[in-house]
């Protein structure tokens, strides 16, 4: 659940993070949420309500693949894997994000005397 201090992510941010996480290792939905939460030091909390539609979008666009498997806790889970197209997409997205971040940082930087 969202608290008032949390901000909405900008469009595409969730997909980017999901892709990045999946690039490291294939995961299922629940693990994805946990992973992003842990990595971001609890700063980012993914809502299930957004995650599943986002995963479906990625599936549809062919950026990820899904397969049923068994988890470490012996649970039937659907594991998502990055496709080559997903890798390329991630690279593009990250570089365009970095450019944007660079721009924003410049604007926000304290004025030099």
């Amino acid at each position: 659940m969202k608290t008032s201090e949390q901000r909405d992510l900008f469009p595409g941010a969730l997909e980017m993070m999901v892709l990045r996480t999946l690039k490291r290792q294939p995961l299922h939905g629940y693990a994805l949420v946990q992973h992003i939460k842990r990595i971001s030091n609890d700063l980012l909390q993914i809502e299930e309500g957004s995650l599943y539609p986002a995963l479906q979008r990625l599936l549809k666009e062919g950026l990820v693949k899904a397969e049923w498997g068994i988890s470490a806790t012996n649970r039937r889970v659907r594991v998502y894997k990055l496709t080559p197209a997903g890798v390329k997409h991630l690279e593009r997205e990250v570089s365009s994000f970095e450019r944007m971040l660079d721009g924003i940082t410049r604007v926000l930087a304290p004025e030099r005397p």
Binding site: M1, Y30, E47, E48, G49, P53, Q56, T73, R75, R78
Partner: protein
């Protein structure tokens, strides 16, 4: 093809998704349990943290869909299911929309074909009719031309790229015996060329076919060619006999071309010059006082109608002088020469229907519009009642995360679904209704023909009103119905909540509006029905029952003028000998026949004629006429067998003529002469009797004009066409075969046409019958719809108040006071509606004045009747729910909680 595969693999996708989300939740619970939380709390916490599962799943599924279309389709499917769930309401709603839309489509389609649709010719908007403005009546242009005048226009005009004239006339295909008439057209040579009509087969008439002294040639309409020749090409070149004259068939017009007169169609076309062959000695080709043709032209490119008018008027003095009528008063000639030309837009064709039926059709359009509004109100209140019953469903959908917009869309989709289905059904009704309407406006002599094939305009109109009505009756229930307080709705109790009451209010408001609209319609219906009844029961001056009229022409029988009287005499004798024929007579024109003969008269010894005197109408008759028609003799004697060519000329006049020309004196024995001034050889007629006034003109509304009858035996040149009247003791149609035999016994070449006098009278009341019958039908429909609406709302109110009524009864209220409680509700609704309706009708019925006869637009009695009818029906409709309220068992009502 990805999306295509998706369509089939989607179920698997959805199942995967569903399972995945379930697993997600379980995993969360397990984790919390592992962290030491009790399972029950863990489940709640996991659910809370996850949020709205259904919504998440739905959003995720939407990724795979075309959201708008698919949710629309889902809405439609769901809407269909909801409509099927309440079949009674759905049927009533569907039927009322279908009737409403069907009626609107039918009337609009008629209006469209009579007034709006362009002729199916090349660039119809370039066509302009040529008419003349008379200085004495500048606002009523004269549209008919004489042939000499037309020839002048044709030969001198410079503003049209082509100009043509035509005239309609029926031709007889039969050689004697019962006439077999076809609708004919005389056209000038440039008719087809200027219109840009191409032949379906053979060739059409061209300028060379229309030269004075031409042999004539015939063009057939496509329908006639199919019907009479089976569409055989061999028809071309074969002869066709029209009024006993033979013409070669040269071609066939295309199927969609019905001529330039909307409301009629032609079957055979012959050139104008052939009129000399058909009419023989009576040809009108050189007659400067014979008005029988209409003139139209195609404007030259870049010439505006105003420029065309101006161009024609430059030539007007020359043209008019060359065609000035001869043998009339010099003042009339001067009037004629001072006329000017004008052009009227003619792209939609010309139509006598337009003049006659535009106003009635517009009135009917208002009537059916009101019916549709009432139907909408009806459905709105039904939907409102239903949406109240659906409160729980809607509350459930809200709590599952549906947005209000989404729910409104759902309800509106249902409305549109309903109205679209209604419109489709309505189109069927309309097809049937249109045919019926055309039959209703057709008379024995004028068979109305309209091209009512479905066209884009009509379909657009229907689609438009379908959507409009769907929105109209859907919006209120959609907004009201989706304003649900979740808590109270889910609790299921507290039916008297705020939203309950306000929904109530809108339901009542709708019913009041319905009552008001119905009253408006009923008042209109009352006025039209009374008008019709007044005209039906009007004293015609003759008895129309059991009279057969036989219109006869002996044109092709080769009987010399001198022998006509004796031929007619033999016919009368044979007709009189037919069993069950009570009496028989002959005359020039039968009453309400449509043709009249009138002239000024000069009274000798009476009041001096002044220019303000009305013209007198004439008829020649045989001695049995007044007894056959049952027109009472008021004074003097009738005409008898002693009035012959060798006895002094006599006449019988009607009351109006007696009163007008001989006020305060006895007209019997007085003399008059026909004409002002009378021709040198005009007879001096002595008045020998006075008869009661009879209606003669084609409208029953007109008072009888001055009228004089004189004996057929004293007419020197009896015409070759006339009418016989037979009063019969049985159904007049049953003697037709005997009449055919009797007439053939005298002369086989005599052509015959039959109609009963009753039908001839009826045919003058087409407009009134149309308005009365249709408004009565729609008034009844409105009443029925209002009753249904009232019943629905009252049933709903009672069901909503069952609890309250139960408490009242438990506290000692008796059934009577409960009845008063519920009926008090109805009375308020009715009173409000009636008051509004009465006010509206006071204002609106003024518009009906022009259609009325013998009744004022603001007729109190009609309003009282309408209100009484409305009250009776409304009370009956609400009594059933009220009775249910009376029988509420307090125990059950209270236990219901």
């Amino acid at each position: 093809m990805n999306w295509f595969r998706q369509l089939f693999t989607r179920r698997k996708l959805y199942n995967d998704l569903s399972e995945e989300i379930q697993q997600h939740l379980h995993e969360k619970v397990e984790e919390l349990v592992a962290a030491g939380m009790p399972r029950k709390d863990a489940e709640a916490a996991a659910r809370r943290e996850f949020g709205n599962m259904t919504l998440t799943e739905e959003r995720s599924r939407e990724v795979w869909q075309w959201p708008t279309i698919e949710s629309f389709l889902a809405d439609i499917r769901f809407g269909g299911r909801m409509l099927r769930k309440t079949p009674a309401i759905t049927c009533v709603a569907l039927l009322s929309i279908a009737l409403g839309i069907g009626a609107n489509t039918a009337i609009f389609s008629l209006l469209d074909s009579v007034m709006l649709r362009m002729l199916p010719v090349q660039k119809p908007d370039e066509l302009a009719q040529v008419a003349m403005r008379r200085p004495r009546a500048p606002n009523r242009p004269q549209e008919v031309f004489t042939n000499p005048l037309w020839e002048q226009v044709r030969d001198h005009q410079t503003v049209f790229s082509g100009v043509f004239a035509w005239s309609q006339l029926d031709f007889n295909l039969a050689n004697g015996g019962e006439a077999e008439n076809v609708h004919g057209l005389y056209v000038s040579g440039e008719y087809f060329n200027t219109l840009g009509v191409a032949p379906a087969v053979g060739r059409l008439l061209i300028a060379e076919d229309d030269r004075r002294g031409c042999p004539g040639a015939a063009v057939l309409s496509y329908g006639f060619w199919q019907q009479h020749y089976g569409g055989a090409e061999s028809a071309i070149g074969s002869p066709i006999r029209l009024d006993g004259h033979s013409f070669p068939v040269i071609g066939v017009t295309p199927p969609a071309f019905f001529g330039t007169d909307v409301g009629q169609h032609f079957e055979v076309v012959i050139p104008m010059c052939a009129e000399a062959i058909i009419a023989g000695k009576q040809s009108l080709l050189d007659e400067r006082s014979g008005w029988w043709m209409t003139v139209m032209g195609r404007l030259k490119p870049g010439v505006s109608p105003e420029q065309a008018t101006a161009g024609l008027n430059v030539l007007a003095p020359e043209i008019l002088t060359a065609a000035v009528p001869l043998g009339v008063k010099p003042s009339s000639q001067q009037d004629f020469r001072s006329r000017t030309f004008t052009t009227l837009p003619a792209g939609t064709g010309l139509s006598h229907l337009r003049r006659r039926y535009t106003r009635p059709l517009e009135a009917l359009m208002v009537v059916v519009g009101l019916v549709l509004l009432i139907a909408c109100a009806n459905i709105a209140s039904l939907m409102l009642a239903r949406s109240a019953a659906r409160q729980k469903e809607i509350a459930v959908r809200f709590s599952l995360g549906a947005s209000r917009t989404r729910l409104i869309r759902q309800v509106l989709t249902e409305s549109i679904l309903l109205s679209t289905a209604g419109a489709l059904l309505g189109l069927l009704f309309a097809r049937w209704g249109e045919a019926l309407l055309v039959r209703m406006v057709s008379t024995n002599r004028v068979k109305v023909f309209l091209d009512l094939s479905m066209n884009r305009g009509v379909l657009l109109f229907t689609a438009g009103i379908a959507i409009l009505t769907g929105l109209l009756f859907g919006v209120l229930p959609a907004f009201r119905g989706t304003r649900v307080s979740l808590v109270s709705a889910m609790k299921g109790g507290d039916r008297q909540g705020d939203e309950g009451r306000s929904r109530f209010l809108s339901g009542r408001l709708i019913v009041s509006v319905q009552v008001a609209l119905s009253l408006l319609l009923l008042v209109g219906t009352g006025l039209f029905v009374r008008t019709f009844r007044n005209l039906l029961t009007l004293d015609l001056g003759f008895d129309a029952k059991h009279v057969l009229l036989v219109s006869t022409s002996i044109e092709n029988a080769n009987i010399p003028e001198t022998a006509r009287l004796s031929t007619y005499g033999q016919m009368l004798e044979r007709l009189g000998a037919i069993p069950r024929v009570v009496s028989v007579s002959q005359c020039l024109f039968t009453p309400l026949f449509g043709y009249m003969w009138s002239n000024s008269i000069q009274v000798d010894g009476g009041q001096n004629p002044s220019s303000g005197d009305p013209e007198v109408y004439f008829n020649w008759i045989t001695p049995g006429y007044f007894s056959t028609m049952r027109t009472p003799l008021l004074a003097g004697r009738t005409l008898d067998a002693n009035d012959t060519l060798s006895s002094p000329p006599v006449a019988v006049v009607n009351e109006t003529m007696a009163q007008h020309f001989f006020p305060n004196e006895n007209p019997i024995g007085k003399y008059f002469r026909i004409g002002d001034p009378p021709k040198a050889d005009a007879q001096t007629l002595q008045i020998v009797g006075i008869v009661k006034d009879s209606k003669y003109e084609s409208s029953l509304r007109e008072p009888a004009p001055p009228f004089a009858y004189f004996p057929a035996a004293q007419v020197k040149d009896l015409p070759n066409s006339s009418n016989f009247e037979l009063r019969t003791a049985v159904d007049p149609n049953s003697v037709i075969p005997s009449v055919r035999d009797a007439m053939a016994g005298v002369n086989k070449a005599a052509s015959l046409q039959f109609v009963t006098l009753e039908r001839q009278v009826d045919d003058t009341l087409v407009q009134e019958r149309l308005l009365a019958t249709l408004s009565a039908f729609f008034g009844g429909l409105a009443l029925l719809l209002t009753a249904i609406g009232l019943y629905g709302v009252m049933a709903y109110v009672v069901s909503q108040r069952t609890h309250e009524i139960g408490i009242r009864m438990a506290l000692g209220a008796n059934p009577r006071s409960v009845l008063r409680l519920v009926m008090g509700d109805v009375a308020t609704l009715l009173a409000a509606g009636v008051a509004a309706g009465a006010l509206a009708s006071y204002w609106a019925t003024r518009l009906t004045q022009q259609f009325l006869f013998g009744v004022q637009a603001r007729d109190a009695l009609t309003v009282v009747f309408a209100v009484a009818a409305l009250f009776a029906v409304a009370l009956f409709a609400s009594y059933l729910p009220a009775r249910r309220a009376m029988r509420v068992d307090p125990m059950i009502a209270l236990r219901y909680e």
